[in-house]
Amino acid sequence: MAADIISSIFGDMTPLAAMIFLLIGALIMPAVQMFGKKHTVTWCVALLMVILSFVTDVILLTNDVEATYLGVKLNTYTTLMSMLFLIVLFLVVLVSNVSTETTKNHAGAYYALLFGATLGMLFVASSSSLLTIFVGVELTSISSYALVALKRKDGRASEAAVKYAIIGGMSTALTLYGISMIYGIAGSLEINDLANYVTFNDFTWMFGVGLICMIAGYGFKIAAVPFHMWAPDVYEGAATPVSMFLATGSKKMGLAVFIQVFMAMFIISATAGSIFGLTVQYIFAIIAAITMTVGNVVAIAQPNIKRMLAYSSIAQAGYILIILAVMTPQAEAAGIFHMFTHVFMKGGAFLIVGGLICAGIGEKISDYKGLAKRSPFLAAAMMLFLFSLAGIPPLAGFTSKFFLFASAVGTPGAADGTWIWLAFIAILNSAISLYYYARVVKAMYIEKGETTEKIKIPTIFTVAIVVCLVFVIVLGVYPDLIFGYCEQATEFLL
């Protein structure tokens, strides 16, 4: 019903429906700020646009609408991914107005950039050509450089932005070079054609160079080791809502690219067992293993909680990269599901950090001492988010990791064990991660703080945290809520 209304409004452009709201949002936000005077008004309008977009998307998702408009696709996959990005945007926008870190003077530009970045993500999710994907990714990237820098009075933010922009620019160049190589050898930018090419042709050096350059370029987006170096600095320097946006949204977009480009390209040849396909699988397996190990091990050494969360994000990306080694639809579904749970748990953790910064608590783990006394709710929520990240049942992080590791072990009827070593590395990493998550829990619950004064964080933050918390628990005990869609989405890979 609702889907019909949307179709009747947007007509052929239904695939663009959710994006259109964002686009409108991005365009009008500066104007709204100008006329609205009060930044709360700006915030309300922004929130409205996000909600409109989100509702549209959810309606399309739940009604299984399929359409294509000028190469922009609309199917379960695209709507699902869009929903993920919109959830992130929603959470970020929700808290931006009360966060002391985000700019109020340039609220219009801030929201416009957020919308722009999200628009890019949605665009990427709906694309099936390297060209459009490239454009979408750049839209997001460039917006996020600016977003990071938008904490204008903070030297650390501008330093982070410089680093981010330079590494980002170089990655863009690498990507572009890689795409050009692949374009040259395969003669097309459409993923379908590329998949065909890979299936029916032998490995050539040019293709190899292109592939590696692309992996490196997009690896930067998901902060895969060794392209991860920017992430901790940027997450630390940026305003916490922005860090959250990067860690949950921008990184997920990178993973979406990995799924749409590399997985789509190689899944056929991997299933067929060609050596070329297997080589690529191994490459991804190695990257995955290194990424999660480095992420987790280095996270132990971090005294700053935002940096720690950054490294933990790197590790989580490593877990998700398992799906590119395994290359099965089952794995893809698990990966998408893990992205969702990761949004809530990592987002929740960042929200708490952001909220506490508003309340004057520092970013050091040692600043969290005695938090359980000062704010039992925040401490409990933080604990649940962290345990969920560590994969402790019955929280969402466990369930999604359960699916992920399950896919690494094999498929029904064939626990063949090719990637079982990856599963072992992953579980060892899980255990390592427990160490640093538990360190925070220990600080909050067990160590005595200097004061037992109660903490008050903005109500909006609490609302956002509760939303995350609810999903972390609900997705843990009832994953079918989303996992069904994740499985459906895998049908639209090619």
Binding site: I167, S171, A301
Partner: protein
């Protein structure tokens, strides 16, 4: 059928234990009377059952009254719970409960000044009695084993009765604690062997019921000779532990740290008798293997001898008695071994004689050893020390004690008419029989054993009288001077009763005891063998040796015409030192237990901390350290980051080529 109530015999002391434990504190003597009543009641029931059994057809036909109920199953094997009454059971339960009753009565006097602790004492002795009586009436080896262990526990508790807050200070309590531990541990070693034997038996016989096992023993032994022998040896290991046989005899002298009544209980009525009883009970099994019987006899002979030697120069009145117990137990085991050996060779009558002699000696020993211990208890009670060097001349002050103890000494020394004479000479006779009839290689062993037994008889007479003389004759020394006279009636009455038994219990063999202690219906003729003793020249030899021993003791310690110092070079001869050091057995045990126990444990602990746990901790610190090191790569220079990216690209390029090549792509 009163035999149906056999289960009451252990059950009553058990109830007494619980009653005393729960509300004994509130009764007079802190539960002492409950304990006495329980023991007495058990005795009376045992008496009634014995009378009934002895008058029944079963007894006439040489079969046991047996009844059991299913307890539970281990795999395919059903374990039962029941009672088993035959002549041996009757004899055992009668003297155990009777002597225990007397000891409990005696305790009223002896433990009078112990205050609140009496409660614990009476509870524990009741449990002890439960253990012994339960062991006696058990219908299978597992049940026996359970009670066997219960006794082990009780001995632990009772030996350690003064292991804290000892009246004589801290060192004494430390001693008691260590002695209790040693007693339990050493007997436990035997118990573990016994348990091992039971595994094999259970597997071989598919049951541990006496009746079932005795029925099929021949077939089973023939089918699995190796395992059967092993099982017998292991089972005998239990005996060695419990009955303090060589080489596990060392705990018994230490066990003197407990109250004297407890020693009396352990040595006379319970505990150490259990080992002998186990051999007697398992006799049908033992006689299947002639070599095991030889082994048993040898252990018995060596024990008898070694223990007697160590008693020769001991100055502690209770320890002398302890050694004498070990020595006498050696006699019993020797007799059973030799008898079994003969039976196994087919000399059924001689074998039955050996069996009878062993059990008979056990009974006699129970009476006179209870007497001796309680007498020594009376002495200790009177003069407050156990060191004989501080006694002397007590005869005048404690006439009843001295006289009754004299009876005991005469009995143990083997002076005719007294009980010990009959049984001991039958034992020595059995050893001789085994020499005369034994197979070629083994016979010589029995000659040696016979010699050892005879020498032991001489030594026994000597050290017992040495003890008696040192205690009761001569000049009153230090403690004897403040001795406050004879003990109360509760203590002397049991002594007098037991003295009577020490005098006459040997004569039971002429009045039907032989029928009760008949092995497989092979009853020997008590009168015939009694008379035969006096036609045997060796009997006179042992009598003369015993008198000689008494004489030497008299010369040394009363007349002082012989100086003991001359023989031991004033305590410096190696033999004397060896004896005071107990042939270095305690040192050996200590070495073994420290090296094998604590030493290995230290090693294990070191490995555990350093290697096993060290690996875990090392891994974790490696990870944490790795984190520190790797985070240093994050220099903050954006161009370093770029370099890493480009480096990563190059590594990936190499990697993709190598992987492709390894997978066989080229």
């Amino acid at each position: 059928m009163i035999a149906e109530f056999t289960w009451l015999i252990p059950f009553i002391p058990m109830m007494c234990f619980l009653m005393i434990g729960i509300f004994g504190r509130k009764t007079p003597e802190k539960g002492g009377y409950i304990a006495i009543a329980g023991a007495l009641l058990s005795f009376l029931i045992a008496l009634a059952i014995s009378i009934e059994y002895l008058g029944s057809d079963e007894f006439a036909n040489g079969i046991a009254i047996e009844s059991s109920i299913r307890w539970f199953e281990i795999g395919d094997y059903t374990l039962n719970l029941g009672y088993y009454v035959d002549g041996l059971t009757c004899v055992m339960m009668l003297f155990s409960s009777f002597i225990s009753t007397l000891i409990f009565i005696y305790s009223i006097g002896y433990m009078h000044d112990q205050g609140e602790r009496k409660n614990r004492y009476y509870a524990e002795v009741s449990l002890f009695l439960t253990g012994m009586l339960g062991l006696i009436v058990s219908s299978n080896f597992l049940e026996l084993f359970i009670f066997w262990e219960v006794m082990g526990l009780c001995s632990y508790l009772l030996i350690g009765f003064w292991s804290f807050r000892h009246d004589n200070g801290d060192e004494a309590s430390a001693n008691a604690a260590s002695a209790a531990k040693k007693a339990f541990l050493v007997t436990r070693m035997g118990d573990v062997c016994l348990m091992g034997g039971l595994f094999i038996f259970l597997n071989l016989f598919h049951s541990l019921d006496y009746s079932a096992m005795f029925e099929s023993v021949e077939a089973v032994a023939a089918a699995n000779p190796g395992l059967f022998t092993l099982a017998l040896c292991l089972m005998f290991g239990g005996v060695i532990g419990k009955s303090a046989q060589f080489p596990l005899h060392d705990w018994l002298p230490d066990a003197m740290a407990g109250p004297t009544t407890v020693s009396s209980l352990i040595h006379a009525a319970t505990m150490v008798k259990a080992g002998v009883y186990l051999v007697a009970r398992g006799f049908p099994l033992y006689v299947q293997d002639v070599n095991v019987m030889l082994f048993v006899a040898i252990i018995g002979g060596i024990t008898a001898f070694i223990a007697a030697t160590m008693a020769l120069n001991n100055m502690n009145i209770k320890k002398v008695l302890a050694y004498s117990t070990i020595s006498q137990l050696g006699y019993m085991i020797l007799s059973l071994g030799a008898g079994g050996y003969l039976w196994a060779l087919g000399y059924e009558e001689l074998g039955a004689l050996g069996f009878f002699a062993g059990c008979f000696h056990m009974m006699n020993h129970a009476f006179f050893k209870a007497l001796l211990f309680m007498g020594s208890g009376s002495v200790i009670h009177g003069c407050g020390t156990e060191d004989m060097r501080l006694m002397g001349g007590l005869f005048k002050k404690m006439k009843i004690t001295a006289t009754t103890m004299l009876f005991g000494c005469l009995a143990i020394a083997g002076i005719p008419i007294f009980s010990g004479f009959w049984s001991k000479d039958l034992v020595i006779d059995t050893a001789m029989n085994a020499f005369n009839n034994g197979a070629d290689g083994a016979a010589i062993w029995f000659l040696i054993l016979w010699l050892l037994a005879v020498i032991t008889a001489f030594m026994t007479a000597f050290y017992m009288f040495r003890m008696w003389f040192m205690t009761f004759m001569g000049e009153p020394r230090e403690n004897a001077q403040h001795c406050h006279g004879e003990s109360p009636k509760t203590m002397t009455t049991p002594l007098i009763i037991l003295a009577g038994f020490a005098l006459v219990s040997g004569l039971f063999m002429f009045f039907g005891l032989t029928d009760m202690l008949a092995f497989e219906g092979e009853a020997i003729d008590g009168v015939e063998h009694g008379i035969e003793l006096f036609t045997n020249p060796f009997t006179y030899m042992t009598i003369i040796l015993a008198i000689l021993g008494i004489g030497i003791a008299y010369m040394m310690y009363v007349k002082k015409t012989m100086d003991p110092g001359k023989f031991n070079k004033n305590g410096e001869s190696w033999l004397y030192i060896a004896l005071t050091k107990r042939w270095w057995f305690p040192d050996l045990y200590n070495q073994i237990s420290w090296k094998l126990g604590y030493g290995v444990a230290k090693g294990v602990n070191y490995i555990d901390r350093q290697i096993v746990d060290g690996t875990v901790n090392g891994l974790s610190s490696a990870v944490v350290g790795g984190g520190d090191v790797m985070s240093k790569v994050q220099t903050g220079h954006v161009q370093d980051y770029s370099s890493v990216v480009l480096f990563g690209v190059s590594v990936l390029s190499v990697l993709i080529l190598v992987t492709f090549a390894l997978l066989g792509g080229f």
